[in-house]
């Protein structure tokens, strides 16, 4: 990068530098943004876009700084004046921008602007004041000295030096949210030595071929159909999205009122209308909502097929549960649901049952998958549509609440007290921990007396 800068400054081949006018003072040895871009295009034969990008990088790394808008290190391809940073301040010198230096710089600024610093600079100033309090007198003294010496220079020089310093500190102490060009990123060790390498031997290719064959056999849909489905999904969920369609009674983040969360908590006596509607979208929505699931269980009980849901829940517990409990859970499922004469025997076709019983001999996490899927599909195709048409569901819809919208206050800046809520982790006691950590999917499977 530096070779480029040096050649830029070459008196003959480099960028033509003229005395630029900045407001009323004349700055020597400055050039316009346009000049920089043009020179790069000519010298390297690159496009304008690339030259602009390159120029921007040079400015961001602090080799050229703008005179007109010194806060933002951006290259503008117009008449705005720029200047080369003195080699003293070049990033490659790598002398550490010490806290002391930064403190002196901020102190100078503070004195000059009489306390009117940008927010992050104010924060840094206070932080430094706390940290290096013992040398603070020195800092202030240095700052005053430098300011005094600066006053004795010509205005043009003063502006130049200020801009130089400002650019230097913008690179070394970037404001929050700005790109830090000096950032190296995490010390990621040489990835090659620790990468899990796949030797491209025969087995690897055999696996690849197997995978490709399976992939070919998969049923696929056209993009048009798939995208159509995507759009339908968005349309269906739009009125339920709090950001797109607002939330009643009010958005807790805006009004500090947590009623919305309270009304939509996992277990409430009366669910909201939107929530009950969502249960009708698809089976998964119904099952993932604890309230919906409980209602579904009630409806299944009326049809004497509640064991299906219990079986499905037990299988979920198996799939996502602890490794050490797998044999125990598999056995419990067998005893309750699959053994001939079991109290809550589930109706699975003989093929699946045969496979599952075989699999139970060597129990593992996914041994119930086939059976679980069969029962899931049964519920989805059979019980679920009946549930949606049932009186139970219709009543739920009718009784569901639509919370009234909170009237907008006349004085919106009267903030409500923000109360903390109990953390879910507070219920972490010995027994509860087990239950809680199984997650919202599985409820404990109680043994029923026949």
């Amino acid at each position: 990068m530096e070779r480029m800068i040096v050649s830029m400054q070459d008196p003959d081949m480099g960028i033509k530098m003229r005395n630029q006018r900045l407001l009323i003072t004349v700055i020597p040895h400055a050039m316009t943004g346009n000049d920089i871009v043009e020179w790069l295009i000519q010298k390297y034969g690159i496009s304008e876009e690339e030259s602009l990008h390159l120029g921007n990088l040079i400015v961001k790394h602090g080799y050229i700084y703008p005179l007109k808008d010194p806060r933002s290190l951006v290259l503008r391809a117009d008449e705005s004046p720029y200047r080369f940073q003195t080699p003293y301040f070049w990033t490659s010198t790598k002398w550490p921008a010490t806290e002391l230096d930064y403190a002196i710089y901020l102190a100078k600024k503070n004195i000059r602007k009489q306390g009117d610093l940008v927010e992050h600079e104010k924060d840094n100033y206070n932080l430094l004041h706390k940290r290096i309090n013992h040398t603070w007198d020195f800092v202030v003294m240095q700052a005053r000295e430098q300011l005094r010496a600066a006053k004795q220079r010509r205005k043009g020089d003063r502006i130049v030096i200020d801009c130089q310093e400002q650019a230097y500190w913008l690179v070394n102490r970037p404001p929050p949210g700005a790109l830090n060009v000096l950032e190296q990123g995490p010390e990621r060790r040489n990835c090659h030595t620790t990468q899990v390498q796949l030797t491209q031997n025969m087995d690897y290719y055999k696996r690849e071929i197997e995978y490709c064959r399976k992939a070919m056999a998969r049923t696929r849909v056209k993009s048009s159909i798939c995208l159509e489905g995507y759009i339908k999904f968005s349309e269906q969920y739009m009125p339920h999205d709090p950001i797109m369609s607002g939330c009643l009674p009010s958005n807790p983040w805006i009004t500090d009122d947590t009623t919305y969360w309270a009304m939509n908590a996992p277990t409430v006596p009366t669910p909201t209308k939107l929530r009950v509607e969502r249960w009708g979208f698809n089976f998964r929505e119904l099952l993932t909502d604890p309230l919906g699931r409980a209602q579904f269980l009630d409806s299944l009980k009326k049809e004497f097929s509640a064991e299906n849901l219990s079986f499905w829940e037990a299988c979920e517990e198996l799939r996502y549960g602890e490794q050490s409990r797998i044999p125990e859970i598999v056995d419990s499922i067998y005893q309750q649901f699959l053994a001939p004469g079991a109290t809550r025997w589930v109706n699975i076709d003989s093929n699946t049952m045969g496979r599952t019983l075989e699999g139970i001999k060597t129990p593992h996490r996914y041994v119930m998958d086939d059976a679980q899927m069969h029962i899931y599909m049964l519920m989805k195709k059979d019980s679920y549509p009946r549930f949606l048409k049932s009186e139970l569901y219709k009543n739920l819809l009718a009784e569901a609440v639509i919370p009234p919208e909170t009237k907008k206050r006349v004085f919106p800046f009267m903030r409500k007290q923000r109360h903390s809520s109990p953390s879910p982790a507070l219920f972490l006691s010995a027994g509860d921990a087990e239950e809680r950590s199984r997650g919202p999917m599985a409820a404990p499977v109680p043994e029923e007396e026949s």
């Binding site: 990621r188 620790t194 690849e208």
Partner: protein, 222 residues
């Protein structure tokens, strides 16, 4: 003896060719079904109105770049991890800090909240994913109950609990993803074949709960 070696070489080459040709056919099949682009279909959809995004809360407390965060299921709590090695649990509604852990490494690039809200998982340059049960007991140091779950050979870039507190899916710079049992720290399944650093992953909310997506970065020195 020499002929055997030759035969093996031939089959290796022929296998490779077969794999390549199958891949080509697969691409063709896929291309056949690609009859319309998303932006074409999207043209029919109403455009969104002006979006006003305001900062509602600012949570101050990390000393350096915040690298990752995750929401709790209660919709107000957040866990966040940063470059300085600190992992903090906040009630973002009140902006109070509820828990804080200092990891033994810097650059904690991944953190996740357990579905029950009772634990958090985090990891980074230590190549591990650790699970911390959240406790309000003043006498207990959270680091004391820490469980080291995942072990990779390179940095941890992402982690996520599956449907329960007992399973974690992790992605790592060593090019693999893995599924672990939290209680025992056992590796349940590992997913190879990325060829480069895996930087992120996400679980699909499907009916079978069987799929997840992982994103990989191509390193320059390949």
């Amino acid at each position: 003896m020499a002929t055997e070696g030759l035969r093996e070489n031939e089959t290796l080459a022929s296998l490779k060719n077969e794999a390549e040709s199958l891949k080509g056919k697969l691409e063709e099949e896929r291309a056949k079904l690609h009859d319309v682009e998303l932006h074409q279909v999207a043209e029919r959809v109403e455009a969104l109105g002006q979006f006003v995004m305001k900062t509602r809360r600012t949570l101050k407390g990390h000393g350096n770049k915040v690298l990752c965060m995750d929401w709790c299921k209660d919709k107000r709590r957040i866990v966040s991890s940063s470059q300085d090695g600190k992992v903090i649990v906040w009630d973002s509604f009140t902006t109070n800090k509820e828990h804080a852990v200092t990891m033994p490494c810097t650059w904690v690039m991944a953190c996740a909240y357990a579905p029950s809200g009772c634990a958090i998982a985090c990891g980074g340059l230590d190549n591990k994913c650790s699970v911390y049960p959240l406790t309000f007991d003043k006498n207990e140091n959270m680091a004391a109950k820490k469980k080291s779950v995942a072990m990779h050979t390179n940095y941890l870039s992402a982690c996520s609990f599956t449907n329960s507190d007992m399973q974690i899916l992790t992605a790592s710079g060593d090019g693999t993803c893995a599924l672990w049992d939290v209680e025992s720290g056992q590796l349940l399944q590992s997913f190879h074949g990325h060829g480069a650093d895996v930087l992120c992953l996400d679980l699909a909310p499907s009916e079978t709960g069987n799929t997840f997506v992982s994103g990989v970065s191509r390193s320059f020195l390949s």
